[in-house]
């Protein structure tokens, strides 16, 4: 899932304090699961902001909402409708950056502010702890590295590691960070495929990653007839 973390309240308050009517919109999928922007967090953020404005004697109306995913047009449509119907002046989205982008793209003249810092694609390694595991590079090589991604999990994204900064299985960047290459070697030992590592991984074509510009995925069969016709 996409993992994010709520921005500090001071920042959130700064975004919205010039607007009299603000809607905070949560996202019911990744942001919920990582406790950054689900319905409960929307309510907490709304409450905290109300308290902060109350202390300053500022009258602010804060509306709460949460949709299943802010990265789908149908779900976002309900947000757009509420914003228009209720004359909302600004939106604070507690979705990942995708949701913020997507909602902003659907609202012409109403600003959308990011309520969370989107961090990474990660997994829950223990309750309350999420760790990055994928960098979305567009050309997966996990079959070569025992299922452990050096691009995402090695601080330097080295394809033929480890580097000299690995010590006792930890990365020199932080004692909390496992050395991905140590993990890869241990794992491949267990799999009996350690010898595969004698083959050097060739320099990669990073155009599938961010380097090739914004990416898109198309399933022709799922496109609506109208859209397909328009594109010829």
């Amino acid at each position: 899932m996409i993992v994010g973390e709520r921005k500090p309240f001071r920042e959130l308050k700064g975004f919205i304090e010039d607007y009299r009517k603000v809607m905070i919109v949560g996202c019911g999928t990744c942001a919920t699961v990582c406790f950054a922007g689900g319905e409960s967090e929307v309510r907490v953020v709304a409450s905290a902001l109300r308290i902060a404005f109350l202390r300053e004697g500022k009258e602010r109306e804060i509306i709460e909402d949460c949709v299943t995913r802010q990265c789908e047009p149908e779900f976002v449509e309900t947000v757009v409708q509420k914003v228009n119907d209720q004359n909302v002046e600004a939106v604070l989205s507690l979705a990942c950056g995708v949701g913020v982008n997507f909602v902003a793209g659907k609202l012409d003249d109403v600003p959308v502010f990011p309520g969370i810092n989107t961090k990474f694609f990660g997994a829950t390694v223990e309750p309350g702890v999420w760790v990055e595991m994928c960098a979305g590079c567009g050309n997966c090589i996990l079959h070569l590295t025992g299922g452990i991604c050096p691009v995402a999990r090695c601080s330097k994204s080295i394809l033929n590691g480890p580097c000299g900064g690995s010590s006792d299985g930890k990365c020199e960047v932080s004692p909390e960070v496992d050395c991905a290459w140590t993990l890869i070697i241990q794992r491949m030992k267990k799999l009996g495929t350690l010898d595969h590592l004698s083959q050097i991984i060739e320099p990669r074509d990073w155009s599938t990653s961010r380097h090739g510009g914004p990416r898109r995925v198309v399933h022709e069969e799922l496109k609506s007839v109208d859209a397909a016709n328009q594109q010829g």
């Binding site: 309240f9 699961v33 689900g38 319905e39 409450s47 109300r50």
Partner: protein, 689 residues
């Protein structure tokens, strides 16, 4: 935002409710007790059962037999809790009495003033009918008024219920025997459009053994009536009671109270088969009554027509293979008991005098009737209770009375008969053993009976009721079945948080979370942590609490609140009286403390801790139960970490986390809470607004 809906998926009733013949919402009245809402509890009880005072004393409490707490330690003392409710609301109950002016022109006659007849009268009077109840004896209440001795059911207690019913405008004519003093056709002539026969089983059966006509052989019901009238039945030195049911036990225990040293009870059944309630038998034995099991009477010995003893024969089996009553005896195994008085308590029969001259048919010694419509063979005449069903418990008669009222209402409205097939509530399933093992054990509060030596001296009531502290402690033991966590599947993100934190291992997630109601103990920890706000509990909700707080903090016409203003969330389970339970806006204005009682404060979410500040409070004081006293494993730590999070949010927004205090009750709520509030107020004063 709307909270998750709590109405869906609840199909099963709490087993206590399902087991109750009148389907009393037991769990709810116990909850009302914990909330100090004794009057609401009384309303609930009386609505289900106008004989609530009686049932608080003598109900055979099938609710307790089915209580799911039995799997953990012992059932909740529901009968005693019911008694507590009626005993602590006497004045309120008197104040709520008011006659109901008849709105229907039809008159209804009820023959028999037992629990069945009077319940029907009660319901019909509330429906606007003019009801007249005829009672052949001079005291109302049927067997409750004549046969149940006052050490179990003081007369005043029965009167509480009966007077309540009569206060609706029900007319009671005692000493008026239908069939003798008046006939059914007279009732018709007086304008009765419907008649209910609820005459019960008012006569004792006797035995067909030689010598049974001797002087000194008495029948149970006349004997108990003599006792009821306060007369001395003149017993001999040795009394033998024949019978193994509850009436036999009552008779034997009454005999002891008239100073008879040697009272023997002879039962055809073995100890395990005896139809009397086990606790009654135990209490009788404690009082020195000798129980002779598996003997049947053979001959009564008499001298000059006066009883001298009884010869018994060994009963080898009471029931046949099909479970029918068909005693077999070993005539060679004989026991002789010397006695001066023999009291026959082998069962009752009906007195059908009332139907003389009517077209009501009889089947055996009972009335012929349709058990679904309660109609007899004469149109307009209905029957209910033991006269048609055979022996039953008081609360079952109440149920039949309710059914009779419904049947008669329908008949009077439509001229047709309403079918009321037997209906049972689906009870919540058993609690799995692995869940029961995780539930914290708590010994039941059982008021001791007065000592057997003291008991037999007179007819004083042998059991005392709960004190308020005891009732609150016992009510706390209720597992609140059927109020467990419910998931709004549309919101659930399947994040697994509930699975990870459920202290009872109940929650599961497949596509969405699920908490089987059979297992969930309604601690609410999952709801407090759910990031999707997808879990709701029937007894507690953030929105519900916010509304309560808004109500409490509304200043209205009152002057402004005292400052600092504190919202105090308190563990509902730590109070020993209701003084601290209920809060009014005026208290808040006066004291500066708005108390919100929570059934375990560990359910408080971070949002619950922030909301008071939104509503203008200066501080929040959370008071949980005593150290280590929480009902729910891990709850104390969970609460502490949520308090830390709420404090950090207050720090972040510049208000200061020190505005939230978390205390643990010391000794009792009454002793420690006000000190906590004082300490917090002092601190808040230094912090300023």
């Amino acid at each position: 935002m709307a909270e998750a809906s709590v109405t869906e998926n609840v199909v099963a009733a709490a087993p206590c409710t399902a087991a109750c013949p009148v389907q009393t919402d037991t769990r709810q009245y116990v909850e009302f007790i914990t909330q100090g809402k004794y009057e609401e509890a009384l309303e609930l009880l009386l609505d289900a059962n106008p004989f609530s005072s009686v049932c608080g004393r003598i109900c055979h409490h099938p609710c307790e037999q089915q209580c799911r707490r039995s799997k953990v330690d012992a059932p909740v003392g529901l009968r005693q809790l019911k008694r507590f409710v009626v005993e602590s609301t006497r004045e309120y109950r008197l104040s709520r009495r008011k006659p109901i002016a008849p709105t229907r022109k039809e008159r209804i006659a009820v023959i028999g003033s037992g629990p069945g007849g009077l319940t029907a009268a009660h319901d019909l009077a509330r429906l606007g009918f003019k009801v007249v109840v005829y009672e052949k004896w001079h005291t109302p209440g049927g067997m409750l008024g004549t046969a149940i001795p006052r050490y179990r059911l003081p007369y005043e207690v029965l009167e509480e219920d009966i007077d309540d019913i009569l206060s609706l405008g029900v007319e009671l004519r005692t000493g008026c025997e239908i069939g003798r003093d008046l006939r059914i056709e007279d009732l018709r002539r007086e304008g009765c459009k419907a008649i209910l026969i609820a005459t019960g089983l008012s006569e004792s059966r006797t035995l067909g053994v030689p010598g049974i006509d001797s002087t000194g052989v008495l029948l149970a019901i006349p004997f108990l009536r003599t006792v009821r009238l306060g007369e001395n039945p003149l017993l001999g030195d040795r009394v033998v009671v024949i019978g193994g049911g509850n009436v036999a036990i009552d008779v034997a225990r009454c005999a002891r109270r008239f100073g008879v040293e040697k009272v023997s009870l002879v039962s055809l059944e073995s100890r395990q088969e005896m139809p009397a309630w086990e606790w009654e038998i135990e209490e009788a034995i404690q009082e020195g009554i000798e129980v002779q099991n598996s003997w049947g009477p053979r001959t009564v010995f008499a001298e000059n027509g006066t009883v001298r003893g009884i010869e018994l024969k060994r009963c080898t089996s009471v029931f046949d293979e099909a479970g029918r009553f068909s005693p077999r005896f070993d005539e060679g195994d004989v026991l002789t008991l010397l006695s001066d008085t023999i009291i026959i308590a082998i069962g009752q029969r009906s007195d059908l005098t009332c139907i003389e001259g009517s077209a009501v048919k009889v089947a055996g010694d009972r009335l012929e009737y349709d058990p679904e419509t309660l109609a007899t063979t004469e149109t307009g005449i209905f029957a209910c209770g033991e006269v048609v069903t055979g022996p039953g418990a008081a609360v079952e008669a109440v149920r039949e009375g309710h059914r009779a009222a419904k049947a008669m209402l329908h008949y009077l409205d439509t001229g047709e008969f309403l079918r009321q097939p037997p209906s049972e509530l689906l009870a919540l399933g058993e609690m799995p053993l692995e869940t029961a093992e995780k539930v914290r054990r708590r010994a039941p509060v059982i008021p001791e009976l007065i000592s057997p030596e003291r008991r037999v001296r007179d007819f004083s009531e042998i059991e005392r009721g709960f004190t308020e502290a005891e009732a609150l402690a016992e009510a706390k033991r209720c597992l609140a079945c059927t109020t467990g966590a419910l998931v709004d599947e549309a919101k659930c993100a399947a994040c697994l948080t509930c699975v990870r934190i459920c202290p009872f291992g109940v929650a599961t997630v497949e596509r969405t979370a699920a908490m089987p109601q059979e297992q969930c103990l309604a601690c609410g920890l999952c709801a407090a942590e759910c990031p999707a706000a997808a879990i709701a509990l029937k007894r507690f909700g953030t929105n519900q609490m916010r509304r309560e707080l808004e109500g409490l903090l509304a200043t209205g016409d009152e002057p402004k609140h005292l400052r600092p203003l504190i919202v105090s969330y308190c563990c509902l389970f730590e109070v020993t009286s209701r003084r601290l339970v209920r809060a009014e806006p005026s208290d808040v204005a006066r004291t500066g403390v708005a108390r919100v009682m929570v059934p375990c404060v560990a359910r408080l979410s971070v949002l619950d801790m922030l909301t008071p500040f939104e509503l203008g409070a200066d501080g929040v004081v959370i008071i949980s139960c005593m150290e280590g006293d929480c009902l729910y494993p891990t709850a104390e730590e969970r609460l502490s970490s949520r308090v830390r999070k709420a404090k950090s949010i207050l720090d972040e927004i510049g208000l200061g986390g020190e505005r939230i205090d978390h205390w643990k009750t010391e000794t009792s709520a009454e002793v420690s809470w006000s000190a906590f509030w004082e300490i917090s107020k002092r601190k808040l004063r230094t912090l300023g607004g």
